[in-house]
């Protein structure tokens, strides 16, 4: 019987030997491969392994707070969690996205858009998908750690501003650092860092922003922290104390509520800004997290321009407020005799054109004092004609118009004081004498900001000392300019402004018993009288109401400039606001003096107490009178 396996062939010994050599050769090659990795390139891979294992997690330093002059917080922080999405595993991200969207209450489209936007970033860099996690979000993340290992939380401090746009323009807001800033910062900023974008947040960003700390931790392959190596604590940003008086700011904000306008209150002796308000105002709390695109668009396209800081950026015709500058120029230049007087019949004509006084029936014979008190246009037309534009421009510039005041805020506007030279330079045209007549009553090309008018009028009342306005409380001497006015000029001009309020002048309605309130009203046309006639009397073209007031008459402590756009009458709309602020200032002062009242520092903890807690401690023992001490 013959089996299939019974054959006479010998085994192929040579070929089997060849297979042996192949085996030895292959193992040898593999060992060479290991030698290269483990001995030749070992150092490089050791570094890679360390980089795998160790992750540096930033500890975000909270920004410094902003306090008012009595130590009350105006801008604060609160701790918040950002939800991070780890994108290492695109497949899992894709699979879990619907569940994440539902769990966090974020529309799926939104998440997908964010992922797309982050496509160019390295995959290991997580993205923030929800900047402010709620309790429910945190619970969702914790309970789904196992099945959705893609979500992480990062503790950050977010800015908290007072509600309702309180002091919004002055404080400004923070936002993510721009790509250019990152590039030009020499590594100081990382993408995603928060920096001040506008206002004080931007001006004092270097002081306010702290130094982020770092935590080096051991993580496993899914990024879970399994151990800690070292920790460098964050250095808190310094808090800054402002010259703002919260109480006066409240009066200013509330007086402007529902209006378009601005309030500036200064202490002209020091340049300290006591209140700085502009309305309408955005709520910077909306920006503290992330500006929604629609909201940003709406704010930018709003015809009321809520993003404009009217206190330092609205450049408008000062109207009759300019008459104070005219009066000063007239007296200082001595080009016109002091007792110069004019018969006002309601109209007059220059160079073949009719010019009207606001008082249709005329003021009769008026001198300088009467002309300021009753705001007679015809008188100042004549003064303007006699002084000429260049002399007006010289004095106005010396008194601070057409130049930035140098306040410690970004994007202050300079206003404009026209002159022959200016017109030639900008329009390549000759100055027409008729233009001087308009400028003489604060119309035409002359424009100024509310801050400039407060600065200028306050300086004139002080006899020609113009302290640089500032918001940061500082013990150092404040720079200022001097343009000494003669005693006689100061006396006459301040006396006239006293008359405006106290001698039955245009602002007689805001007379305050016991307070030497002085000031000047203004109702500035937005377009020329002829233009207004053509356009019909629409509200858009209503006059802007101005009032710049101060007290006391000599050596003033507070000067307040009020602008109400479309407010029609300075006397009835703007002046009461200034009066309220000055009254509040005196009320506080009286309380302090009579009751030995002092304001205790109230120390707020982050997030624990409502920010606008009553700031009137009553029974604490007095600590220090007057000035609060900067930290």
């Amino acid at each position: 019987m013959s089996y299939w396996f019974e054959d006479e062939h010998r085994l192929p010994q040579t070929r089997l030997a060849i297979v042996s050599y192949v085996i030895v050769g292959a193992i040898g090659l593999l060992l060479l491969g290991f030698w290269k990795l483990q001995v030749v390139d070992s150092e490089r891979y050791t570094q890679l392994a360390e980089r795998n294992r160790i992750r540096a997690i930033p500890i975000i330093a909270p920004r410094g707070r902003m306090l008012d002059r009595e130590g009350r917080p105006l801008v604060d922080n609160y701790p918040s969690f950002s939800v991070l999405l780890l994108r290492d595993d695109p497949k899992q991200v894709e699979r879990s996205l619907p569940q994440i969207a539902e769990g966090l209450g974020v529309p799926l489209d939104d998440l997908q858009q964010q992922l797309e936007a982050a496509q160019d970033l390295p995959k290991f860099q997580p993205i923030v998908i929800k900047p402010e996690a709620t309790q429910a979000d945190i619970a969702f993340i914790e309970s789904h750690r196992a099945d959705i290992p893609l979500l992480e939380m990062l503790m950050v401090y977010r800015r908290r501003y007072l509600p309702d746009g309180f002091m919004a323009h002055a404080s400004g807001y923070v936002g993510e650092v721009s790509a250019q800033q990152v590039e030009s910062s020499n590594g100081r900023y990382r993408p995603g860092d928060l920096v001040g974008k506008t206002g004080l947040e931007r001006q004092y960003n270097d002081v306010l922003s702290g130094t982020d700390g770092l935590r080096r931790v051991i993580v496993n392959s899914v990024g879970r922290e399994v151990g800690r190596l070292e920790q460098k604590e964050a250095i808190l940003g310094q808090q800054i104390q402002l010259t703002i008086d919260y109480d006066l700011q409240v009066v200013a904000e509330q007086a402007l509520a529902g209006r378009k306008g601005a309030v500036v209150a200064l202490d002209p002796r020091t340049g300290e800004v006591l209140a700085l308000a502009s309305r309408p105002a955005p709520d910077p709390n909306l920006f503290a997290v992330r500006v929604p695109r629609e909201e940003w668009k709406r704010l930018n396209e709003d015809p009321d321009r809520p993003l404009l800081d009217r206190a330092i950026q609205a450049q408008l015709a000062p109207g009759s407020v300019f008459k104070v500058i005219m009066a000063t120029a007239m007296l200082e230049s001595k080009a016109i005799p002091e007792n110069f007087s004019v018969l006002c019949t309601g109209t007059t004509d220059f160079y073949g054109r009719m010019f009207h006084c606001w008082q249709k029936h005329g003021h009769g014979v008026v001198s300088l004092h009467q002309a300021v008190v009753h705001s007679c246009d015809v008188f100042f037309y004549n003064v303007g004609k006699r002084l000429g534009i260049d002399r007006i421009a010289y004095y106005a510039s010396q008194l601070g118009l057409g130049r930035k005041t140098g306040i410690d805020l970004p994007s202050e506007e300079a206003g404009l004081m026209p002159s022959e030279e200016w017109k030639q330079r900008v329009f390549h045209q000759k100055w027409y004498p008729g233009e001087t007549i308009s400028v003489a009553i604060g119309q035409g090309a002359v424009v100024a900001t509310p801050l400039q008018l407060a600065h200028t009028i306050g300086g004139i009342a002080l006899g020609g000392i113009f302290k640089q306005p500032h918001l940061l409380m500082s013990s150092q001497s404040v720079p200022g300019e001097r343009f000494p006015l003669s005693e006689d000029t100061t006396e006459k001009v301040t006396q006239a402004m006293f008359g405006v309020v106290n001698e039955g002048g245009t602002a007689a309605g805001v007379h305050l018993e016991g307070i030497e309130l002085c000031g000047k009203t203004g109702s500035a046309q937005v377009i020329s009288a002829e233009g207004l006639k053509r356009a019909g009397r629409q509200r858009r073209f209503s006059d802007n109401a101005w009032f710049v007031g101060y007290a006391p008459r000599r050596n003033p402590e507070i000067v307040v400039s009020v602008l109400v756009e479309g407010g029609e009458h300075g006397a009835s709309v703007a002046a009461p606001i200034a009066r309220d602020i000055i009254k509040a200032y005196y009320d506080k002062k009286a309380k302090r003096n009579q009751l030995q009242y002092t304001v205790e520092y109230k120390h707020y903890e982050f997030g624990d107490e409502p920010l606008l807690a009553e700031s009137q401690p009553t029974s604490e023992p007095p600590a220090r009178p007057e000035q609060s001490k900067p930290h």
Partner: protein, 362 residues
């Protein structure tokens, strides 16, 4: 045909080498999984090894000629099982590879590997010439091609590829004309683009990743990169058992199975790798030696079939760990954790022992 086969004629050296490799494997499985939710895996692997030893003993007792006699039947069973697994099999990780048997899931393809080794040994030993004809080659190709195709359908590219060296080594030993070899190579190269067309997306991704790993370091190239980092950071002496950060923190993918050598390389260094690879070399050379001393060509083909499959496993897995080959999911025999794979190796070694203890019979 009967023979007095005795257990004392076992290849004790082969067994010793096998145990040494298994010991290293158990050590590293323990180190890779202790403290994780997979802890205790080395005990389960130990059970599989013991079960494997029993199977080896049983297989070695049955005369391999009797086994080879049943080759046609085994072939039918194997093909049938592959069809069954496609029809009713249990899908895990996106592939139908498992059928439930005795309360555990078995990878049918492991069994089929064994069957094809037997079938090829039977087929080649029936060729009565010193050179394979073209007809023989085609027959061998078809015999292997059918199960290979069925395994590809699961899909399991790795296991399917294992059948190829079986045919190549068999053909080499059986004697192949140069022109036939050249023709097969040319045909194979021409088939590559066609084969590419049939690859699943994830398989294509693995291949492109292998060719250009730097393009997507956190995506598909991640596994190879992490494996290389583990190996490279191990250095010459390693970080010590249980101290490899790549291994312990889970950066090494499937560190207890396919990438177990990466875990070992990190913790035991080049020294450990050297010892391991020398052990594998000794194992394979020992197999060749057993083939050389086989009583007949059938025994030789059987042993060399086992050597071809194990050698391919070792080569492909080790090369993958250091980034010389794409990720295919082929485990490292005797070291990687896995029941079916361990059983297969011991059954295959049982066949070798079978041939070994009958070497003097004539």
């Amino acid at each position: 045909m009967k023979a007095s086969a005795r257990v004392r004629d076992f290849d004790w050296w082969l067994l010793a080498i096998t145990f040494a490799i298994c010991g290293l494997g158990l050590l590293e499985i323990r180190s890779a999984t202790h403290g994780s939710n997979l802890a205790g895996m080395h005990w389960r692997q130990m059970c599989w090894i013991v079960l494997g030893l029993v199977c080896m003993l049983v297989v070695s007792r049955i005369d391999y000629h009797a086994i080879l006699d049943q080759a046609p039947l085994l072939y039918l069973v194997g093909v049938g099982a592959l069809v069954a697994v496609l029809a009713v099999g249990h899908a895990r990780f996106g592939a139908k590879r498992w059928i439930p048997l005795l309360g555990a899931f078995f990878q049918v393809s492991e069994l089929v590997k064994l069957i094809i080794i037997i079938v090829m040994a039977r087929f080649l030993s029936e060729v009565r010439t010193d050179q394979l004809t073209l007809g023989d080659l085609v027959k061998a190709g078809v015999l292997t091609g059918l199960p290979l195709g069925l395994i590809l359908l699961q899909p399991d590219l790795g296991t399917a590829m294992v059948l190829v060296p079986l045919v190549i080594v068999g053909a080499f030993l059986g004697g192949i004309y140069w022109k036939h070899a050249a023709a097969v190579i040319v045909l194979g190269v021409m088939m590559l683009p066609v084969g590419w067309h049939f690859l699943k997306p994830y398989q294509k991704e693995r291949v492109t990743t292998f060719l250009r790993p730097e393009e997507d370091p956190r995506g598909a190239g991640y596994q190879i990169l992490q494996s290389k980092i583990a190996v490279g950071s191990g250095g010459f002496w390693g970080k010590g058992l249980g101290n490899g950060s790549q291994n312990q923190l889970g950066f090494v993918p499937v560190r207890y199975s396919d990438f177990i050598l990466a875990a070992l390389a990190e913790e035991l260094g080049f020294a450990g790798v050297f010892a391991t690879l020398v052990l594998y070399m000794a194992l394979l050379l020992r197999l060749v030696q057993n083939a050389q001393r086989a009583n007949d060509r059938a025994g030789m083909y059987l042993v060399m079939g086992v050597a071809a499959v194990l050698g391919f496993h070792v080569l492909v897995n080790v090369a993958m760990v250091i980034g010389y080959m794409p990720v295919t999911g082929i485990p490292l025999p005797l070291m990687s954790y896995g029941g079916s794979a361990t059983l297969f190796v011991y059954l295959a070694l049982g066949l070798v022992m079978n041939v070994r203890i009958r070497r003097f019979v004539n």
